[in-house]
Amino acid sequence: MKSIALGQYYPAASVVHRIDPRAKVILATLYIVCTFLCKNILSFAALVVSAVILILLTRIPLRTVFQSIKPLIVILLFTVIINIFWTTGDTLLLEWRFIRIYLEGIMQAVFMIVRILTLIVGTSMFLTYTTTPIALTDALEQLLGPLKKIRVPVHEFAMMMTIALRFIPTLVDETEKIMSAQKSRGTDFSSGSLIKRAKALIPILVPLFVSAFRRAEELATAMECRCYHGGEGRTRMRILKYRPSDFVAIGVMILLGAGLIVLNRLGIGYTM
């Protein structure tokens, strides 16, 4: 399992990849706000255009993007059904027994789908696809730094994230080893009822947990030996630096938001 991918980081040399991770967190947040600003067909159209431009800028193949959307199909279908059948309005399109479909319902469904899709695409383009998990952790630690004043253990959370990321592949390897060991003793993981299969997992989980705790203890000792004493007085080798282009990107994002508000005012067609 050496090929295990942490997150969905897609290495490429795009403009988006080069943005400072902190700026990307801010951009992703602003983009989420943008998706909620949209109220009519014009602003939603503009939002779709912005999402397409964003995907093109990251140079991530469309197929990869679609793959990240695939698991959402159930949620999307659910949204469509709820909105189409339960929204009432003025323009009745179809009536059959107790089912009444209004134009407003269809518009509402379309808007919701666009909103969910752009939300996912926006955040994944800025964060999961173009930022390594470790850069993201660093960015969050610095952005949330001010919260330390009200005693939020920001550094500790970031450290936990880093260690978790570091140990996921190690523990996956270990799980495989334990499973092979159990299989060679005749354990059957792949047949039988769900309960039977769940029970077969217990002999894997117990040794895995025991070893995880042992590792944690050894790691803590090793960290102490390397003078770790929390975030206080700790410096970093890699210092994040904003570049002018980061501010340009944030400026563009704010303009997008402003543009969406203007388009909402034009009041064409159905308004959400």
Partner: protein
């Protein structure tokens, strides 16, 4: 020689087992280690050798006795937290399982972990990381993810992580025990280079006799006390006494001893495999001349 770097006097340590009974591990351990020495500590399982290492680094605290490091008593009750950090900076420790020592997801970030904890400026950390990578011969792997490296490579990264803190002494607590033969060879070579070229005092705890053969000095700990202390040559010539402490002599040395028992006269040192080979070759050449 001047004042020893590490002075251990009458050190005792015991822990309480699950039933609350005191289990003594170290009883009256006394030894000195000088600056720049390459010392190997041998002992069978449960002899207290790992406990001793942990006491030197203040991971454990002694019940009684004294440890002086550079003249400073680290067993005194007025050691502050800063004193402890200063000590750990001076005496680095590498453990057995390389996986459980690496903190970060990128090699160079992991090596930077120690210096970052010391609060050094970022350019200085960068310099130390590059230097440490070079010292262990892993410069090409700076941007790699540790979980993709082999055991020996991971252990060398762990060593680099300690070197980046610029210690005066490094303790290796069975650091080669979990490695394959080629990984072990690489790590031992790295340790030797550090001792020779960087003048780092090395205390290696091991149960591999071949590793001990390369040291300046071998200390055997048995039952919580120093049982034997001398050069590898002195120690390994006493095979029977070693056997009493549950230890073997290196294979090459054992071979030479057996040949001598058969009445074949062999002169010369016989601790490392190379020395043994030379000794036997010299004897064969001598025979040919007759």
């Amino acid at each position: 020689m001047s004042q020893p770097f590490i002075q251990v006097k009458n050190l005792c340590y015991s822990y309480q087992d699950d039933d609350g009974r005191e289990v003594p591990v170290l009883r009256d351990l006394t030894l000195d280690i000088h600056r720049g020495e390459y010392v190997v500590i041998l002992g069978h399982n449960g002899s207290g050798k790992s406990t001793f290492a942990k006491l030197l680094n203040m991971i454990l605290e002694a019940n009684s006795g004294q440890i002086l490091i550079d003249g400073k008593d680290i067993t005194s009750p007025d050691m502050t937290d800063d004193d402890v950090f200063a000590l750990r900076r001076k005496i680095g420790m590498v453990f057995q399982n390389p996986d459980n020592q690496l903190v970060a997801t990128i090699v160079e970030e992991d090596i930077a972990f120690g210096p970052e904890n010391l609060g050094l400026p970022s350019e200085e950390i960068r310099r130390r990381v590059d230097d440490a990578l070079e010292a262990v011969g892993m410069t090409a792997y700076a941007g790699h993810e540790p979980h993709r490296l082999s055991g020996g490579q991971k252990q060398r990264i762990a060593i680099a992580g300690i070197i980046a803190m610029q210690p005066e002494c490094m303790i290796f607590d069975e650091s080669t025990a979990m490695l394959d033969p080629s990984g072990r060879r690489d790590v031992i070579k790295t340790i030797e280079t550090l001792n020779r070229e960087r003048d780092i005092t090395v205390i290696a705890i091991t149960h591999y006799m071949n590793e001990a053969a390369r040291a300046d000095r071998v200390i055997i700990i048995n039952d919580g006390k120093v049982a034997m202390d001398g050069t590898p040559n002195e120690i390994f010539s006493q095979g029977e006494r070693l056997a009493q402490y549950g230890l073997d002599v290196p294979q090459g040395t054992a071979l030479i001893h057996r040949l001598r028992e058969r009445g074949i006269s062999l002169d010369g040192d016989c601790t490392t495999p190379e020395q043994c080979a030379d000794t036997i070759c010299a004897a064969l050449a001598g025979k040919g001349e007759k």
